[in-house]
Symmetry: C2
Subunit: 784 residues, 2 copies
């Protein structure tokens, strides 16, 4: 690992950068500690100090140092730089810089660049009614909260894709570097096009400690660290030291080198990165009560934890803050002196003001072909079969083709695009790949729109970064394994929730999940691949940002996908099948059904407006089993009045008070009745339907079948049987719940039990299911 | 990366190993394809072939090769080896080997080592009523299903900790190697003691392809790969080739070298590992329809997908299977010939029979000190304060101390043990660490019982491996970030569910989570750190394996922890506070309360057996707010008859039909009444309480307050206010829901609104909460 010894800065430049850094550090400490007396015009008294001291000092001087030096580079090269703060707990640092450069006061005019503004800036930090302690959506210039560690580097790459003029400076904390998602994200270079994408400049900040432990990367040898980073495909440069003047020269020289190399970057050349080894809590208190603080984990949060109550600590705080010589940094009115600001970038080159960090400003709506043109022809419900995701693939192919000139759409997935039957996209594009290509490979391309890495974390992180910078995308994933990114979804949903409350943040394209290879058709991989619980996870987040769709066939999937790709600021979860399955709705019907999100399927119903029972379904397999059950009922209990309801938009089930898509009670009651039994066949864990409907009048009569965590390597139908979702069991459920049925019903029930057992025996013997129904028992005009 | 050229095997040894390998490959192919005619005594006909062809061939010959060679090493060195199959989809391979060595037929006598057994072996694979396609709990010798990729290496380390005589051979697929959890697990060496722990021998199997893409590690240069692995702290040896004879010699030489080095391992020496570069689907069909299969991703699953329907493919299948020369491998009765088996390990040295893979066989119950001795003294409810997890820390300290001789307990966490206030454990042990130690470090120790790495994935993987090999542990984690391992929890819960159904698998110690730094007291880190949804995630899994506890104070936490550490085959989720908070129950009361899991707190109630309203609570903060609300009610509405119910064991709320801990309806009704309003203050998302209680008679009257995804950096009380869980709002809820209250209640309600606003103003102004109640309004004999 090379350590450059050039000294590119003049003495004046060192002084300016150092003064700026002192100012940022001063403002950071002020935010953590002070309620008042921001310029230390008076002697520091206890009442100037906050009663609750919250914040993270340890990482902050390093973040400030990097910000200062990037300012120089940006100004010198007129370069767009996005700053991604892996150690997002260093919130006071980023806020300080953004205030110094002026952006903060533009976004929040009440926090001016003067003494009053500084006082407010200090007080609001980590204060009730104020701003969070992290680099949150409230922080101009941020696309990355950094509270949950691990995603900075994949976010940075997501931001860099298709932004060739952008350099994303990504600070990676040495704590964060221990996480799995961060560890594998170093490989993202394999997917970055040095010509058509921007560059990522990782700055691995080794300050040595996490909350209370040393970090691994800070304690392996420089030789091992070099090998590791080179092995990941990078050219690391070391900047180390604890003497500010020397570190300024080294960091400046190294940044110059890195930006030079970035300017010359080309296929096959290992891009540069920086390893910055500086003390944790640098320039803070050296020790407290005889124990070292600076350079140790004790500097992680608030190094003087009792500065309000303990006179010694109060004096230390005063000395610490005065060590930055605030009178040299700010004029008497509290504004930063011109030496601090006159060399900074201007306008949108300021890292706090870059539109890349407020991606909605840059969003170009997708050119979307008419999804109706990709329709599967359906003459009569169930008469044709189709593979829903394969059909969607043709639509996505043309989305990619039509938007190729704008380079603003990416399809990501963990090596499953083909397996999920979206392979038609390869007629329009390839899979991004910048490592060796062998003659047997297919569809690899340096400029592919498809990003495939066997890391759901990286897929998610890339896509989030891409969306947060204003572009569009879709993540296709095996349903069970989307749980791998549960916590990343959480963080993105939380980001969206807060960002929507900030008027200056523009809406960004939604995060779209296509979950396929789902629980009911993972019969070949078995139990470990069967989990429909992501939906449950998603609906815990704010109703305004989550949408869940369960299109039952190809045409409904097309309509839903079109809708999701047009939407903004949501997380859309689409669960759809990939296997060959009966198709139910013509395109026209599908579009109308999806627009309503829920509806009675008259062609499958026999209720004449007054059902004995409602058979509801959500999801492709439950819909199939429900319709098969209705066919059985027509045959065996023709006098029974059955209503079939299909739910595409799951949120329609909730009261309108709980979710913007919720049905008003009269609408819900008109569909589900207020007193008839409802047999609800649902794709996922049954409880969710109860959760969504428990406030409805007819809830006591809703009986739900779904996945109850039974499964193995077996046939599709046997999977349904194992979970009592099969057609025969649904008929049994009807018979068990509809009062006053003819005595014959008991015979029918036994017939169902027998048929179920017969099917089960057949499966166990042959390994395959009985042939699927093809002669559906609905009226000949069912397609009308 | 060194490639050894020694040829340690005699010609006879090569022949034996190769024959064994052919046998394993033959049996693997047979499992994927054949229903009948297992020895190919007849010409292969379509009806001999399964109608559904499911399984993964690509990885299998490599897994078989490694198994064969490990057999030689085990026999030669009389060494215990545990085989961890990262590419768990290679199920047919592991089953084949375990059958060859005889273990399979011992565990499953109906699958004998003869032609009848072989026929059954073949048919059952990936067949309804048979066995899964993966290396599932059903597979003897496995602790790792491998369906969800990423955890093989952390499982391997977990198995190796404190098993100094064990070598864990861990096959890592090059697909799996792209995942984040796997990428960071390479660092686990930093935590492994070369003297007191076993060894992990990773075998990175570069067969080049995932489902449909090349893999990154197979396509970077050998130089880069070497650097990467050396950077991770390993000494990699390369074994590459596609000529079996040469590969046998190279692999044997390399394994000899690795086991020699393992035998000499010492602090500071980079341990050995193997990079095995062989073709995907090696020895399978070379091509199909003119497109290459062997050595490409097309070999991933079933290389001849239509072997039943297509005569050409059927012929190819026959030729493929005959290429292994089955007549040389099996006698006419179908038993493996003695040349195949007479050199294999015997008894429990067989990898399928090792007790390490059936950890319950090795479990020694923990020595548990009497938890009552760690009690916080509670004279009267609320009179004393305590920090629940800090108290637990003293108990855990002595658990560690008392079990030190047996080396069978580990505390894992992502750098949060101290932050979660369990620091007392460092009086008994240190944190494992085998990198550089600086003078400022504290509590680091080469032999520490505490494992801390900033990777929840690695923590979870280590602990799972440790438990699956029969030892005990606890994972303490910030509540919000346990979602990082949602999917790992899923897989472990699924493993437990299936393992419990297998009589030969012995119960293993439970997976214990201590979730603290929870949603209500993450007021300093803010919104990203606030998420109580793990409980919701957990309860989707089988009721038999999940338990959720919400002890409201220190003494209840002690009782719950003691219970969990004694339990087997569960996942126990304990959510507890770490902050200073009022203590409610004496130790005696706490133990009795926890034994019931739910109960009426008479001392806080005024209902005299006939309440006007039930105030229920679960979780420490909701309990505090509920009790404060009852104090307010005593003061303002003394005539109101209030019953206070506290829930420790959340599963008590469910019907007994849904969960073994569920209360029978009469018990539930006796506590919650059948018709009075219930105001339920709950720790997490409110819906869960509805889910758990929706079948109860009084469900329509249950009104739940909980976290509704509102939060930021603010005070504890303000957090409660933001989510309407605060005491004032609970009183308002009571007034809104109890019918027939005196007119004065409206005035009281307004008083609550005013007090709430006053509190809010105070918080926004001062940054701190009003002082906590200390004069609780319950009778002087409340402690009785």
């Amino acid at each position: 690992m090379r350590a450059l010894t050039d000294t590119p800065l003049s003495g004046d430049e060192v002084a300016r950068i150092n003064a700026y850094w002192r100012a940022a550090n001063y403002l950071s400490v002020g935010q953590i500690y002070l309620l008042d007396n921001p310029l230390l015009e008076q002697p520091l008294r206890p009442e100037h100090v906050k009663a609750r001291l919250l914040g993270h000092w340890g990482t902050t001087p390093g973040l400030n140092l990097i910000y200062a030096h990037l300012n120089r580079v940006i100004r010198q090269r007129d370069q767009d730089v996005l700053y991604v703060t892996g150690p997002g707990h260093g919130g006071p640092g980023l806020v300080a810089n953004v205030w110094l450069e002026g952006t903060y006061s533009e976004v929040y005019p009440e926090i001016g660049r003067d003494a009053v503004g500084m006082r407010r800036l200090f007080k609001q930090f980590s204060f009730p009614g104020g701003i969070p302690s992290h680099v949150a959506p409230e922080t101009p210039g941020s696309i990355h909260e950094g509270g949950e560690l691990g995603y900075s580097l994949s976010h940075a790459f997501g931001a860099a894709f298709d932004n060739p003029d952008l350099v994303v400076a990504c600070v990676v904390g040495d704590g964060e570097a221990e996480t799995g998602p961060l560890a594998t994200a170093w490989h993202s270079n394999t997917f970055l096009n040095p010509v058509t994408d921007g560059a990522v400049l990782p700055i691995l900040h080794l300050n040595g400690y996490k909350i209370s432990n040393p970090t691994i990367l800070a304690r392996i040898s420089d030789e091992a660290l070099t090998k590791l980073l080179e092995g990941y495909g990078w050219t690391p440069y070391l900047v180390a030291g604890d003497d500010p003047k020397a570190v300024h020269q080294r960091l400046a020289a190294t940044l110059d080198r890195c930006f030079d190399e970035i300017g010359r970057r080309a296929e096959g050349v290992r891009p540069p990165m920086i390893v910055l080894r500086t003390p944790k809590g640098w320039t803070g208190p050296k020790e407290l009560h005889g124990r070292p603080v600076e350079g140790t984990w004790r500097a992680h949060q608030v190094p003087l934890p009792d500065a309000r109550g303990d006179a010694e600590q109060l004096a230390m705080l005063g000395a610490w803050m005065r060590s930055y010589r605030p009178e040299e940094l700010f004029d008497p009115g509290g504004a930063p002196r011109s030496e601090i600001t006159d060399w900074l970038p201007a306008g949108t080159r300021r890292m706090g003001a870059t539109p890349y960090a407020n991606g909605g400003l840059l969003t170009r709506p997708l050119e979307l072909p008419d999804f109706r043109e990709y329709a599967v022809k359906v003459d009569m419900p169930g008469a044709q079969t189709g593979e829903a995701t394969r059909v969607l693939g043709t639509f996505l192919r043309d989305v990619i083709r039509d938007n190729a000139p704008y380079r603003n759409f990416r399809l990501v997935g963990p090596d499953e695009t083909e397996s999920n039957r979206l392979g038609a996209v390869y007629e329009a594009t390839g899979k991004a790949w910048h490592a060796v290509v062998e003659p047997t490979d297919v569809n690899l391309s340096p400029d592919g729109r498809v990003l495939e890495i066997l890391s759901e974390h990286t897929c998610q992180g890339w896509l989030e970064g891409y969306l947060l910078t204003g572009r569009h995308g879709l993540f296709s994933c095996y349903e069970a394994f989307i749980h791998i990114v549960d916590s990343m979804f959480n963080q993105h949903a939380k980001w969206l929730k807060v960002a929507r409350e900030l008027s200056w943040r523009r809406p960004i394209p939604s995060l779209n999940y296509l979950l396929t290879s789902h629980v009911w058709r993972q019969d070949h991989n078995g139990f470990s691949h069967q989990d429909p619980g992501f939906i449950d996870h998603v609906v815990n987040k704010k109703a305004e940002v989550v949408r869940v769709y369960l299109p039952p066939d190809a045409n409904t999937l097309l309509s839903v996908a079109d809708h999701c790709l047009r939407s903004r600021d949501y997380v859309n979860v689409i669960v759809a099948g990939k296997q060959s399955a009966p198709q139910w709705l013509s395109m026209e019907q599908a579009a109308a059904h999806c627009a309503r999100g829920i509806g009675i399927w008259d062609w499958a119903s026999t209720d004449e407006g007054d059902p004995d029972v409602v058979l509801a379904c959500a999801g492709d397999v439950p819909t199939l089993e429900t319709l098969a059950a209705t066919s059985l009922l027509r045959l065996y209990l023709p006098e029974l009045k059955v209503r079939v309801v299909n739910v595409v938009d799951l949120m329609r089930l909730q009261p309108v008070s709980e979710h913007p898509h919720g049905l008003a009670d009269p609408e819900f009651d008109a569909i589900f009745t207020t007193d008839r039994p409802v047999i609800f066949a649902y794709h996922g864990y049954p409880w969710l339907i109860h959760r969504l409907t428990y406030r409805r009048v007819n809830h006591p009569n809703i009986h739900v079948r779904g996945y109850k965590e039974e499964g193995t390597t077996t046939t599709p139908f046997d999977m349904a049987v194992m979970n009592d979702l099969d057609r025969f069991h649904l008929v049994m459920d009807v018979i068990d719940r509809v009062p006053g049925l003819a005595r014959r019903a008991a015979v029918v029930r036994q017939t169902m039990v027998d048929k179920r057992a017969e099917h089960h025996r057949y499966v166990r013997e042959t390994g395959v299911d009985l042939p699927e129904i093809t002669d559906w028992l609905w009226p000949a005009d069912a397609s009308a």
